[in-house]
Symmetry: C2
Subunit: 704 residues, 2 copies
């Protein structure tokens, strides 16, 4: 299916605006890179100062070219860019990539020039990447529209290619994008595209991601972002990637205060709050990696492996210590390294000396290699139903010796039933990489990264896109009457939630002493009483809460005391009254909340209540709304999940009821995102299975 960016990534003709004869400088290097990488289309250099460059006719202006141009690469001083783009638009150039810098990243007048670029794109329909971009590389189409030194072609260099499947790289930072490409290619991982987004005046990372998701030559996507600007396009692309099952490995920087500070100053983007990004990534099954080598290792494993059917790993080695290390590493990632059955062990033992080990890790020993045991064990494990993946741990530093014969290894790798991952504890030699590439093997060199990658592979295999929240979850209601005052009390908040359709405990606001009898009768003993005021945020701190009241006398004393305390601590607070309700039955204390992220809008959060949430930061976020199924998956991702599952002989908690509540709250936040900034239900008590949940306290915060 054609994509609007086809002519951007596979242009039939390129105009190079600002072409130069000086290949030491960036403008000159661009032409040289295009030609060295054997761009097959026509190139039109544009520069009024030359009649020709490097054998190509050079034009004074784009208007002189006279043929249709798919892509203009613009590398001229910033002040000349807008004029050049106007000319491009006038002659119908389809796409432009602006390498020039000096726009939004400088602020002031320079930022205004970027606004003009946006306007040109909107008006003309010409698609524009950059400014301040490092351009892109299409390996498939042989388009090196970049000055990155990493795309330079050295005479006589034979590229290392071990994979048939390809990765695409989409990076807001060109430096990082091409560094990822550089490292991936050094491992022998084939690349389809590498594109840097720059200032994203028109084309953004989200739209580039969308291109890679639909691109048939791309199997795995690596995404490096500081902050997403084209959020809607990004979310569409993310969902599509999840739906078609194309893995996306994402690095999001600007996670720390310092990182965010720089992201704001450097890229002229508002760095998003990372929890929201992580929530979105989790929803769509993106693989988050904060390390370049780790990301590339995951990509290498994904491009060379079928998805595993389970989490059982065989670790195969020729060195005992290294095998143990391999087993430890995958175990620490939560994968299993099961002891093999006696039947398999006996088979393997035929192929190794007596001091080998067949239990798993399997150490066939160096002697086991020469006798063919290593290869035979790989063959056996690949067809065994006792393991789901194989980690081969070797020394591949030799520049002359190879443990494998291509004729034996290649057929197994080509038809592999499960991931077969190769790690060398010595630094792998180029010889070993090259020899093993012939069999389709990428040699990996960072053990922890390998363990993480094998774990991610299992997660990708298990990922299911959660169904959306159903329309029937919570009918849309007009809640504006509840959102008149600037702040809401617990009573106000609960009234809003009740009107929204969320089940709340039966409580009464007592506004005068003579109403207390009726309230006590309705609540029954034991009961709880709480002061209500829109001016008092923390009721406990003003002595505003009395729990476990068991007699009418206590209730009347408490009523007086609550009002007295409030008056004493907060004489200026307007008191609504005292909320009287039954004490909640016991249950697991959970906090459910929503908040609004500046990039992605409403998020739903769930965590274990009480002090633990804060101490162990055990909370899970997702973009709102979520279905009850997705809410249930959120609960499963909590470290405290066992508490809900009958911990230490306790009854299982009513996870179904809690999941429904989370879904309802999330739908409410999404429905009223324009008016509601935050909802906090803290705590909700989750009772035993079948007994539901009780909302103890709640707060709704209006948008200002």
């Amino acid at each position: 299916m054609p994509h609007p960016l086809d002519s951007f990534f596979a242009p039939k003709s390129i105009a190079l605006i600002g072409a130069s004869r000086d290949i030491e400088k960036i403008p000159g290097r661009l032409l040289s890179m295009l030609r060295k990488n054997e761009y097959p289309g026509n190139i039109y250099p544009i520069n009024p100062n030359y009649p020709d460059i490097d054998g190509l006719k050079c034009y004074a202006s784009i208007v002189d070219v006279g043929v249709p141009i798919d892509l203009a690469i613009v590398i001229i001083p910033a002040r000349a860019v807008v004029g050049a783009l106007e000319q491009c638009a006038a002659v119908g150039v389809k796409n432009a990539v602006i390498i020039s810098s000096g726009f939004a990243e400088e602020g002031g007048y320079s930022a205004a020039m970027q606004d003009q670029i946006v306007a040109i794109a909107k008006r003309s329909g010409m698609r524009i990447s950059g400014p301040n971009a490092e351009g892109f590389l299409s390996e498939v189409q042989k388009v090196a529209a970049t000055f990155s030194p990493t795309v330079d072609v050295k005479p006589g260099h034979v590229p290392l290619v071990a994979t048939t499947r390809r990765i695409a790289i989409v990076a807001q930072s060109g430096g990082i994008g091409f560094a990822i490409k550089h490292r991936a290619k050094a491992l022998g991982v084939a690349v389809s595209y590498c594109v840097s987004a720059g200032n994203e005046s028109d084309l953004g990372a989200g739209e580039f991601l969308d291109y890679m998701v639909q691109d048939a030559s791309t199997d795995v996507i690596l995404l490096f972002i500081e902050g997403i600007r084209d959020v809607d396009k990004f979310l569409v692309a993310a969902r599509r990637a999840a739906e078609v099952g194309k893995p996306v490995i994402v690095t999001k920087v600007g996670r720390s205060g310092a990182g965010e500070r720089a992201a704001a100053s450097h890229t002229a983007s508002m760095a998003g709050w990372s929890a929201a990004y992580d929530a979105v990534f989790a929803k769509y099954g993106f693989i988050v990696s904060n390390d370049l080598d780790e990301a590339v290792t995951i990509a290498a494993v994904l491009t060379t492996s079928p998805l595993p059917k389970g989490d059982r790993v065989a670790v195969l080695t020729v060195s005992g210590g290294a095998g143990i290390w391999g087993a430890d590493t995958v175990s620490m990632q939560g994968l299993r390294v099961p002891e093999l059955s006696p039947a398999i062990q006996n088979q393997i033992k035929q192929w190794m000396p007596s001091y080998g080990a067949a239990g798993n890790p399997i150490d066939v020993t160096a002697q086991g290699v020469s006798s063919g045991g290593l290869q035979k064990t790989i063959d056996l494990l690949d067809t065994s139903d006792e393991v789901d993946a194989i980690l081969v741990v070797l020394s591949l530093s030799s520049e002359v010796r190879m443990w494998f014969k291509e004729a034996e290894l290649k057929p197994v790798i080509s038809a592999q039933n499960k991931p077969i991952v190769f790690y060398s504890y010595t630094l792998p030699s180029l010889f070993a990489r090259t020899e093993l590439a012939k069999s389709g093997v990428v040699v990996l060199s960072g053990l922890t990264h390998v363990g993480v990658a094998m774990r991610r592979l299992v997660e990708v295999a298990n990922f299911k896109l959660a169904p959306p929240a159903g329309r029937a979850t919570l009918p849309l209601r007009d809640l504006s009457a509840h959102l008149q005052s600037a702040t809401l009390s617990e009573f106000d908040s609960k009234a809003l939630l009740r009107d929204a359709g969320i089940a709340m405990p039966d409580e009464m606001l007592v506004t005068a002493r003579d109403e207390l009898d009726a309230a006590v009768a309705r609540a029954g003993f034991p009961l709880v009483m709480k002061i209500q005021s829109r001016d008092i945020q923390h009721k406990s701190e003003v002595g505003g809460v009395r729990v476990n009241i068991t007699t009418k006398g206590e209730a009347f004393m408490a009523y007086g005391a609550l009002l007295d305390n409030a008056r004493k601590h907060r004489p200026d607070a307007a008191i609504q009254g005292v909320l009287v309700g039954p004490m909640a039955k016991k249950g697991v204390e959970i906090i459910v909340g929503t908040l609004t992220d500046k990039t992605f809008g409403p998020l739903i959060m769930v965590g274990l209540g009480g002090i633990t949430t804060e101490l162990f930061r055990d909370v899970i976020y997702r973009p709102a709304p979520v279905s009850a199924e997705e809410a249930s998956a959120m609960l499963g991702a909590l470290k405290a999940a066992p508490l809900l599952d009958g911990f230490r002989g306790a009854a299982k908690a009513d996870v179904a009821a809690l999941s429904r509540l989370i879904s309802e709250v999330s739908v409410l936040a999404a429905q009223h995102a324009e008016r509601i900034a935050e909802i906090e239900i803290n705590p909700v008590l989750v009772h035993a299975e079948g007994l539901g949940v009780t909302i103890v306290d709640a707060l709704v915060v209006r948008k200002v």
Copy 2:
């Protein structure tokens, strides 16, 4: 000062028992390696089949050599080894390293041969390394007593050396040991020694560690272990390393079930329980690393950096995205990346274009490099008191261009006031490594590893060896009367602890109904009653605990109910009586315990009590005994530490009293390690500062 292993690591003469002319096989390779690495002493090949080898006279037997031999390298079939060693001992050979395998790792008769080797060492005083060892390399002394391919010298190869300080590698696995060496040297980190321990018949990893700790040519030690056998020597060496401040980076494998399974089968060693290893490592300030590249990165940073005075990092880059990534990475490791003062920012801004960033991360931009801004900023930051370390984030992939001039960089690096760490996001070229090595710079390539290394540097700087537990902590008492029965009840356990000198609550064991009045009077209300029986482990599960009893009537009813419940649930249990004591005041719930590790003996453990310990595995171990100071440091290392420090407005807990208790319990466990296997105090309630602690429940488990 001379060390007993001097003649092992710096032999004046070497006999090569099993020398061969065939350099394709291991025996032949050993001679070739020795000579290629320019061993300066005399080599005496021993083999009855040759008159000479490679120009050296060859002897039929060691007894024919007739000159003193410092080191015999033994590479002959296993069955001939014992005889050859007897001859070595007879002629006074000082040391032997046995490369031959086929001993303990095979079991049976082969293992018995290893016992004979041990006997020869003991009897003769000859020190023996191996069997099944890969030998060692002394770079300083030019002794390549190993067949490892990694010590092969390629003609014309100029080694990359960036550091003047050197690392020593001690590894139980030769494959891993020499792989560490291989990777370290590829970075330009100088090596003093690399030694593999093999089966450790006589010389073990502990004694090798001891050598490296005292060795003047070694600055940092890398240790790879599966399980320590010479525990006493190891502990002496570990303490000495901590005392002299020589950093030890340790990798301990066999951490997972699978890893331990293989460690047991492969190396014929009992793999220790890793928590005990980690406790010992923590005590002596060892740097634990589970990844080879990470360990080497830490070593590289330690050999090139002075220790930082604090945790403030400046991140300096020429690429915005990479700088943010760097800042995120060190921040995630708990280091600070403070915004620089306006004064410093203004200075830096002179050296960069307007679109650079000076806040920190500092992006001088590519243009800032050509104008000298990068170098000037390094100079400025090195003398600034606003940061304690500098992380330089660059692309160093070019094979022709270099960002720095040696004349400018070398003087700063030679006199650097703080760590200046170089990371390249593209794969560093050999050209860049070589050029920067001239200034003493190691180029690092794994960002997460760099972040971890910088964090470890701060930890090394802050490490203080804890003072030992004083003799006065707990006087040694005869507790044997308490350890007569096979199992101890809570009452028995508390009696033992009380007699040992640990303050216990005032409780009474009521063995007959008519004693209850007195017990109630003594305890006062509210009180708690608990069934006591050596046959009942979990009192709660048999309805054996009643808390918060407030009247005499309740107490009598509880007494009857506790006995009834016990009889109903455990009719066969012998009942001691009912323990009556006051309800404890509120406090933070803590668990304190001791257990016995098969390698290191008694350990003390502390964690947050209640469900959290199990859910979040928030516990800290140390070898027992510990001083109160060390106990206090253990508490500080808990994730739950804020709970003791006045969490959310609560009073600070009595950490001093808790630390004293931990110290006392640890001393008790150490004093009676022969008789007591475990002590568990769960929970102890820690009251507000000055109000002490209350032991609620306790259990002592006898050794069987």
